[in-house]
Symmetry: C2
Subunit: 173 residues, 2 copies
């Protein structure tokens, strides 16, 4: 998909699955603390706690993939958040299918309807907040999935599932 | 409401209305690019474009209020985003009721179901990305509003309206 439209996937605030690879290890984490920061090239700011195994993989490789799941994957999304990748291959454990990415070493998660290949471009706020600025360098979306019902975390395993879509006259992006 | 629960309001990714006051001027802007950054004290990172009149008010006063609207206010939310506060009093124009805040000069918007009084605590990324780190110092929520149907912007005036809520067993916050 066009990089100029990437913000539209993240602006509604879905839970995402972040996949990363470094030193022969690959893992996945559940993430909800992210925001678009620029339209094009698309930048995304996200908080990755250093308690997550994936934190070290992103920090070392300076790459990752943001995968966007829908409600059909809700149980796996929560299991992913409840499991550490330190001793477990999460792709195998959760039954996710890794797909080779185009521009980064981390794999895409095939079961997700959208996948954003990212490079880390700013680490100034990592030590203080775990806040990484990512540039999306390649974006994939399944064109067959109309109105994907994304998950939106409300804390402690409660999720809002994306409801109806309304359109109002806007002059802005 | 307890400050420790503030992240639960913002993590699902709702559109918010940011109100700010400086030098005798008050304005409101529609914002969607924000994320929680810490549980407690609650920190919020947000992108405010310097093309918004409100940008100058936040930069000068180092304070603002994040107000969270629901679908009943959708038309006003879009009109707020389509209007500049430079020449217009947006509270008057949009028919919003200002309420005096407790710890900041900016007013709360009475029609919103939650209001978060914020102080700017980190401006390192403002010049490059318009990215402010805010600390929520006081949080208000209308306890009568069960399952508020928040708005989630998908670009160009398309909004997803919060749907059903599901609960899954989670070990995490």
């Amino acid at each position: 998909m066009s990089l100029s439209k990437v913000y539209r996937l993240l602006e509604p605030g879905p839970v995402v699955l972040l996949s990363a690879t470094a030193g022969g290890r690959t893992s996945i984490m559940t993430m909800s603390w992210q925001t678009p920061m620029e339209f094009e090239p698309p930048l995304v700011g996200c908080v990755i706690s250093n308690r997550n195994y994936t934190y070290g993989l992103v920090k070392k490789s300076r790459e990752c993939v943001i995968n966007i799941p829908t409600v059909e994957l809700a149980t796996k999304v929560v299991r992913c958040g409840n499991t550490s990748g330190r001793a477990t291959d999460k792709f195998e454990k959760l039954g996710f299918t890794p797909v080779t990415a185009s521009l980064v070493a981390a794999p895409l998660i095939d079961e997700c309807f959208a996948n954003l290949e990212c490079k880390v471009v700013d680490t100034r706020m990592v030590s203080r907040y775990g806040f990484f600025v990512l540039e999306v360098v390649k974006a994939w979306i399944d064109p067959a999935r109309k109105d994907p019902r994304t998950l939106h975390h409300m804390g402690r395993g409660r999720f809002m599932v994306a409801g109806e879509t309304i359109r109002l006259p806007s002059k802005k992006a």
